[in-house]
């Protein structure tokens, strides 16, 4: 390559080589010229080869450039430098053109050719160098691509890790959310459990309260709030057990209010109930806390004195209660006076069990009533005999109706002036097969107690009407027959219908029937009483108030009710000649009756003096033993033949 470089030594030693100097340039031999030309052609050819390689290098650089562009934008700078190289090559070409012009000067051209060769060599070297650089850049580009790939892999790895972390976080978040929901559900469950438990507690408490209330109601009297029969029985059993163990006594008192029924009937159940409540309070105030006062029902109370030293202790308690009860009771504007009869039994003398003790006290109480009421009686063994008799009467009464053991007696009512019989009062008697003739006072209260009063009353009514009709049919003096009517009969729903049916069946005109009713019967429930009385009056039945003056009558009702007759109670008549007050009462009743256009008849006239006094007070009619005792129907028929009592005819 470098063998054509200007080298003086090589020029001198190489005779085969033409020597060209500047002085001989214009005179160069043709061979040399040819040689130079050939060499220049060679140079040109070399240059073209170089150019060709450069183009190839440029193409490869372009390829590298394309690759570099994908890897890094900085490759553009290299491309710019490549452009500069091309520019410099263009400059070299220009200079080579100028060398052609300087061909005239061989040396110069030769030098220039050598120079160009050298430059061409240099360019070749530069081209090789650029090829090397291009290769290096390609390697660098590959390296960068590798690095880029590595970075991408690293990024993908990081993305994978991030995805994993996100998944883990999501799982944790899910778990946390689930835990919060779980806590909320637990709280809600607790809330429901607490509320349900509290509600259950409330319900259980209400059930227990209801049980307690039921238990209380089962053992206490609703009206007075006193222990009832069941609780008394329980406490009495316990007291007996204790007294037995300790060898002590206890007392049972059976109490029954006197004539309570009259108050209940006359003033109504409301007043009666309040009176019972008042009595209960009084009794409670008389006993110790350890004693038990109970209501047996109706107007009956039983007191248990669970511990007494002596029977006299019970007597003291009884006296205390008698005094307390007898004080007036203020009820609905009324000052009510009531008394109580008390029977006392002592454990163990009068009974060793609860039932016997109560029964003994009850028996003693009846004796207290029969002894005038408002007192107390200790049980005595012979009382049992009477109690047995009472029980026997009740059993016999039930058979008496079937066996037709009842009979009616008739007591005349007399005109005090003329002695003429103006009517008769039918009075029931019981022709007992063993006891003989039994008066109504001995069995009517028992009949009322056991409910037999209704069928007995119906029998009396029918029998009296039949008898009156028989007398009329016998052409005897037609008289009015009076029948006593009890409260139970008067309040019976079939009462009016029974009257109508009986009158119709017996063919007795209603004007010959008189019903005698007590004040207590009339004054109770005045509205319904008024209705029944007017129905009876419309029917033509006469009405009389029996035992007038002993009950509670309202004067306004007396005017309002269709009453025909007032019967002055025998208690006033009996004492009217010896007691001015009674005489005054009798006189007042007579005057009032006449003023109200009522008939007035005196009951229980037993002496001529009483009869005379009644006449003096302008009483028109009388009835009593003085005139005539009650007679059987046949005996009365004899009297009715004349119609006038013998005592008046004498």
């Amino acid at each position: 390559m470098n063998r054509n470089d200007n080298d003086d030594t090589s020029k001198a030693s190489d005779p085969g080589q033409p020597v060209v100097t500047s002085r001989h340039k214009d005179k160069l031999p043709e061979s040399l010229e040819k040689n130079i030309t050939r060499r220049e052609s060679t140079v040109i050819a070399n240059e073209e080869a170089v150019i060709s390689r450069e183009k190839l290098a440029t193409a490869r650089e372009d390829a590298a450039h394309v690759r570099e562009n994908a890897a890094d934008l900085r490759e553009r700078k290299a491309t710019s430098r490549e452009g500069a190289a091309h520019l410099r090559e263009g400059n070299a070409t220009s200079r080579e053109g100028a060398a052609h012009l300087r061909e005239g000067k061989a040396t110069s051209r030769e030098d220039a050719a050598q120079l160009r060769e050298g430059k061409a060599t240099s360019r070749e070297d530069a081209a090789h160098l650029r090829e090397g650089e291009a290769t290096s850049r390609e390697d660098a580009a590959h390296l960068r691509e590798g690095k880029a790939t590595s970075r991408e892999d690293a990024a993908q790895l990081r993305e994978g890790e991030a995805t994993s972390r996100e998944r883990r976080i999501h799982v944790v978040e899910m778990k946390q959310a689930a835990s919060e929901d779980h806590v909320a559900m637990l709280q809600q469950a607790n809330e429901h459990l607490v509320i349900a438990t509290i509600e259950a507690q409330k319900l259980a408490e209400q059930v227990q309260m209801a049980k307690n209330q039921l238990d209380y109601l089962a053992h206490h009297d609703a009206l007075t709030d006193l222990p009832n029969r069941m609780l008394l029985q329980d406490r009495l059993n316990q007291a007996i057990e204790l007294a037995h163990r300790q060898g002590r006594q206890l007392a049972v008192m059976f109490m029954d209010l006197d004539r309570f029924k009259h108050i209940n009937d006359s003033l109504g159940h409301s007043v009666g109930d309040q009176l019972l409540q008042s009595v209960a309070q009084r009794l409670l105030a008389c006993v110790r806390h350890s004693d038990t006062i109970s209501r047996q029902g109706g107007d009956e109370f039983v007191l248990l004195l669970s511990f007494i030293e002596h029977a006299e202790d019970a007597a003291l308690s009884a006296q205390k209660m008698l005094a307390s009860i007898s004080q007036p009771h203020r009820v609905e504007g009324h000052d009510l006076h009531i008394n109580v009869s008390i029977g006392i039994s002592i454990y163990p003398d009068d009974g060793r069990d609860a039932e016997t003790l109560i029964k003994s006290a009850d028996t003693a109480m009846y004796h207290a009533k029969e002894s005038g009421r408002n007192n107390y009686k200790f049980f005595e063994q012979n009382m049992n005999d009477l109690a047995v008799q009472r029980q026997s009467i009740e059993a016999s009464l039930r058979r008496a109706l079937e066996r037709q053991e009842f009979v009616l007696y008739y007591q005349p009512k007399i005109n005090l002036h003329s002695g003429v019989i103006v009517g008769v009062e039918a009075l029931i008697r019981w022709q007992h097969p063993k006891l003989g003739l039994v008066l109504p006072t001995q069995f009517m209260s028992i009949a009322e107690d056991c409910g037999l009063i209704l069928p007995i009353g119906r029998w009396v009514l029918r029998e009296a009407c039949l008898q009156a009709r028989i007398w009329q049919q016998a052409d005897l003096l037609p008289v009015t027959v009076a029948v006593n009517t009890s409260a139970l009969e008067f309040r019976d729903k079939d009462f009016l219908e029974n009257i109508r049916a009986t009158l119709k069946d017996t063919c007795l005109e209603p004007r010959y029937l008189e019903l005698e009713l007590t004040e207590s019967v009339l004054m109770r429930d005045a509205k319904s009483t008024d209705s029944v009385l007017h129905a009876l009056a419309d029917l033509g039945v006469k009405l009389a108030i029996d035992d007038f003056g002993t009950g509670y009558s309202s004067l306004s009702y007396l005017r309002q009710f269709p009453i025909d007759t007032l019967k002055i109670d025998q208690s006033f008549v009996n004492l009217m000649t010896s007691n001015a007050d009674d005489a005054t009462i009798v006189s007042a009743v007579i005057s009032m009756g006449k003023s109200l256009n009522k008939q007035v008849i005196a009951e229980g006239v037993e002496t001529a003096e009483q009869s005379a006094s009644l006449l003096a007070l302008h009483c028109d009619e009388g009835q009593g033993y003085y005139f005539c005792r009650p007679l059987e129907a046949e005996a009365l028929a004899t009297l009715l033949q004349t119609g006038v009592l013998l005592s008046f005819t004498d």
């Binding site: 709280q187 607490v194 438990t197 509290i198």
Partner: protein
Amino acid sequence: MENSSLLRHQIINNLMAQHTEKIADAAINLWEQMATQIISIVGEGGFNSLYARSLFLTQSTFPWLSADSTASKTGQRFAELKKSFEGQSPVQVSEANSLLLITFTDILASLIGEQLTTSILCSAWGNDASDGSGKEFKHG
């Protein structure tokens, strides 16, 4: 169980005895602290049910106690109770609130047990409880 129950009662009595002035405020404060703890466990409804029941039972001893059990919002829940306290003497307030708290915690203990009840009170009243009783809560 018996000792723990007595301790709980003693703590309540001692807490109430600590305050002689503004006792109504102190009483309401105890209720609010306890309510926060209990509501987090049994909810508003559960607390209100327990509270209403306790009041009902305590009213038999202190009839002047009253409360609007429907006022469930914080700050209003015990307004009526505080109003009741304001008309009473400090001694009456102390006795009534002690009984009310004891009744409340008795019912709670009957539902969830003495140990858990005591633990809740410890959380609610913290140092006040242990300082007041002179003893520390012993669970179990």
